[in-house]
Symmetry: C2
Subunit: 206 residues, 2 copies
Amino acid sequence: MNTVAPPKKASFKEQMHLAREEAIIQTVNRLLAEKGFESMTVDEVAASVGIAKASLYKHFPSKEDLAAAAMVRIMQRTQDMLVALPPADPPMTKLRAVVRWTMEVQLQGEMPSLPHQNSTLRAALMNNRAYLDRLMEVSDTLGGWIQAAQADGTMSSKLPPVVVLYTLFARACDPVVEFLKAGGLYSDAQIVDFVLESCFEGLAAR
Amino acid sequence: MNTVAPPKKASFKEQMHLAREEAIIQTVNRLLAEKGFESMTVDEVAASVGIAKASLYKHFPSKEDLAAAAMVRIMQRTQDMLVALPPADPPMTKLRAVVRWTMEVQLQGEMPSLPHQNSTLRAALMNNRAYLDRLMEVSDTLGGWIQAAQADGTMSSKLPPVVVLYTLFARACDPVVEFLKAGGLYSDAQIVDFVLESCFEGLAAR
DNA sequence: GTCTATACTAGGATAGAC
DNA sequence: GTCTATCCTAGTATAGAC
């Protein structure tokens, strides 16, 4: 008996494996948001997850891969958020919702900060297919909405779409959010509203 | 003879000393802009300046002090720029000029990036009187202009002045500039115009 | 105040037992 | 695939001669 491999048990084991990796990635994500790639240490990740450092390296072959996995995950979450938006909404409404969402993630301390120009992480990401694919799809989706919004007259046509795209991406790591949060004068909801206002309406009076 | 200390020679020596330190700070400034505090190494600084690492440590007692000196210098440059603006210009004009200047500095590769939340540099700066004094004076000057611009109706009054202040500061390290520069599609002048446009006029059509 | 040489430590990665 | 123990490089900082 039992000459046939039991698929359920294998699947269970695999699920445990994936759950563990998910826990790791979540921790890495938080630490990346908190201190950035360079200041985050693998010891710290291991301690925070509650496993030995060597075990971490069984899951991910390097610190860069560890961080890249977290970056892929946030990109995936972004993609999921995009497809969950009401398709019937006008493009400008969807773009505002996107920025709002990224700032909420940031306020939760779950938005990993951009790797710096020279970072080894940047290089790793530029060779990471999973990351680049998601980044490209997100860019395409947003790019389409930007062009549509410019076409229907709700978005300024003075800026090339790529400039708008980068400007929206930049809001995901806007230090203004962090500063206002640290100041403690305003609620999270107010901070989101302020940054949205400055982003879309501008600083000059209308 | 020569019982009186020769002030000229002492001054010359001191000037050499200051010139050397200025060269160091300039190098540090560039490296901070290029790679950030964590990725910048003291070896690299020493090599780039062309002196031995131990000599560096005669000038500055630690890597943090080294970086802090560069941060003080950029703050000083900012202060100097502010006082050089035509006093008769309307406040909104001056604020635009400030943002334009910070972006030009960034495009020159001379704008050190903000230290991350958890960075040891951040802690050092928060204990650095020279830095904090300059930061506060710059903030006060800009804050005054912001209130004046809101009062004369050229700047939106929907945002608290401190939010506007942080938003302007954030433009000094806006990743949009870096991205557009890396893209190579636009000239420096165009990049500056685009970011200024998005910052003051906003993304929504007017 | 500059150098060469070196001490010391943090931190990324691995060996090898279970 | 988890652990403990260890390796080893990179990088901050210092000693000591000139």
